[in-house]
Symmetry: C2
Subunit: 372 residues, 2 copies
């Protein structure tokens, strides 16, 4: 029995959009779902209770960051990541693969794993599939991710093929190294760059491992959105219908809609909290840059259609003032709103799928939200 | 009838400590009281609901800062400072005097007022007693402060005398300029530096104005603490018993105890939130610098005797991790704790006065808290 199981509840009649349920040791998650990112064991500028209030049932945290600081052994001693950070709902951890590959000159890849230098203090470390799983087992997240290589974009086919095949070999090592199958479930990651035949090969290799879930990696890495959607279509055709599909690192409203339409069940992205710290809000009428002079005397709510704490209690004029005065409350209030916005958008998407009017919802959303 | 009234409830039999009640248009405040500082219309890194949860019934906000940004007319249009910042309890605003005098080379004093350059954009402004009151009337705070000059330390007697006498003339102009006596009460400020006879003269001049409250200004400006306490004794002997006495800008635990013992009813200080952002916590066993390596694997609460949100839900190891990772949640959680600590300390002081055991409380506190 896997720690995490998936049940498909309903499929859209005109698209590949689907409603499902993901059962985890820390609660049931309705899908499609957006997972806020808490890189360093905190969703930036938010208390866990606020994150819950937004409706979020699962968050993502980063293995690379927690391994370096505070160290996974400390998190283990604290009783695991849930207890350490005061979050009793589900957690997914990535494998650290994406982060160490992003280090560029600071890392070196071999069949064994990746040697890298810490971005914090320059110290040298090695991540192998076994090490990544060991760290994730120490963290105790409900869903752990395979250690993969996310090939850059653009990359030539020979490189992508070699990298993708190594990712498949690494997945077998991850599965073997996983020590806590009763409480944590390992998801595999499909790679293959922008090459449909490599995506198919990757899918076949990882699906053979019979895992409780599969992720689409290597997208949203710099390619045009049209290409991303095209590749996504290929990817999803190769994945089994009865397992959850997770599109990694994607979370803008348009990408959520396009991903859901193609059959994605899970998304994660730093977007809502990161843009909040830069004074940007997502609202039902499009993006708002709160520092704009036109909000100086605007005493309306940030999003008049929103019911979040920020919109119930503060005006655009006040939010603009906080941002310009560089006040921490600015990041707190905008993060709260943006997370509420995206999590609630996913709720509306789920309702629309249940009522078989996903395409209508998508059209209405684009009409109101405007250009991206 | 004044907007703010004071009632003396009980006096300590062995010290000058006193229990009172301050009635304001935004609630009743039990004294002695500590007022958290929300310089730019926000208690840094805290939601107003958290500030309330700490027990705080009145906060201080800064006229100089709000005049420059967002501008007092915007706050007026928003419906006043309470509504603008979502705080429905009492607010005291300072006069901006202390801030403009602190600008050093950027300001020039005449009998009319103070010409100064903004620390934000270098633009030139003038604060007069009339202007300060106009701004505070626009903000709508429950208690507004007279525009005074806070003489530096050290300063020669001739300068302090001249400055103190001008402060008294400015007070008369403030009283005359005050337009909203039904909803806002003007407090006078005693000056006179470290000179007992000047303090007496200042007290006589301001008490003659028959105001609803008086502040002791010009202390904690760099003088040794022993001298501050000595001068404070003189100051309080000159003030009427039936009016609240406010010691401006003071709020470390030892100063609160020494101030209460001498008959102070109100305090304000940025200390709890400022040191929180630097990773410092006040606990019942003394100060804790959370970045200290000894807390790396310390899974106990920050202050085992504290019942605040932070101490109920997080460990020292987690707080240390957040601080070292430069996470906003670090400032949020430590600010919450420090404010809770000081506000609750004042509650214990009030209980001790009611039970006529203030000196015993003070002794116990020092024994546990240790050196300052």
């Amino acid at each position: 029995m896997n720690a995490v199981t998936f049940e498909l509840k309903k499929e859209c009649s005109r698209t590949k959009a689907r409603r499902g349920q993901l059962k985890t040791p820390h609660g049931v998650i309705e899908t499609p779902v957006f997972m806020p990112v808490g890189t360093a064991a905190t969703i930036k500028a938010m208390r866990p209770e606020e994150v819950k209030e937004s409706g979020a049932c699962i968050i993502l945290s980063n293995t690379y960051h927690l391994y370096l600081r505070p160290g996974h052994e400390i998190v283990r001693e604290a009783g695991g990541l849930h207890k350490f950070m005061n979050w009793d709902r589900a957690i997914l951890t990535d494998s650290g693969g994406y982060q160490v590959f992003s280090l560029g000159d600071l890392r070196k890849i071999t069949e064994e794993g990746v040697t890298f230098r810490s971005h914090i203090d320059g110290s040298t470390h090695i991540f192998t599939p076994e090490k990544s799983i060991e760290v994730q087992n120490a963290l105790g997240s409900d869903i752990i991710m395979a250690f993969d290589e996310c090939a850059p974009y653009p990359a030539d086919k020979a490189y992508v093929k070699q990298s993708m095949e190594r990712t498949a070999r690494w997945l077998a090592r991850c599965k073997k190294a996983h020590r806590n199958t009763e409480e944590q479930s390992l998801f595999g990651i499909m790679q293959g760059g922008m090459y449909p035949d490599l995506r198919r090969q990757s899918a076949e290799e990882i699906v053979e491992m019979d895992l409780p879930g599969y992720a689409v990696g290597g997208l949203s890495v710099g390619e045009p959105k049209e290409l991303m959607y095209e590749v996504m279509d290929h990817c999803l055709d190769c994945l089994p219908n009865n397992k959850p599909r997770y599109l990694m690192g994607v979370g803008s409203p348009d990408c959520l809609l396009e991903g859901v339409e193609r059959g994605i069940d899970m998304f994660d992205c730093v977007l809502p909290t990161r843009i909040a710290r830069n004074g940007m809000a997502m609202t039902s009428h499009g993006r708002v840059s709160i520092k704009n002079a036109k909000y100086e005397r605007d005493f309306n709510a940030l999003d008049p259609e929103c019911s979040c704490y920020t919109c119930r209690n503060y005006s655009r004029a006040y939010l603009r003032h906080l941002f310009k005065a560089n006040e921490i409350l600015s990041s707190m209030l905008l993060s709260n709103h943006n997370l509420h916005f995206l999590v609630n958008m996913m709720g509306k998407i789920r309702n629309a799928i249940e009522e078989d009017r996903f395409l209508e919802y998508k059209k209405e959303f684009y009409l109101k939200y405007g250009k991206f």
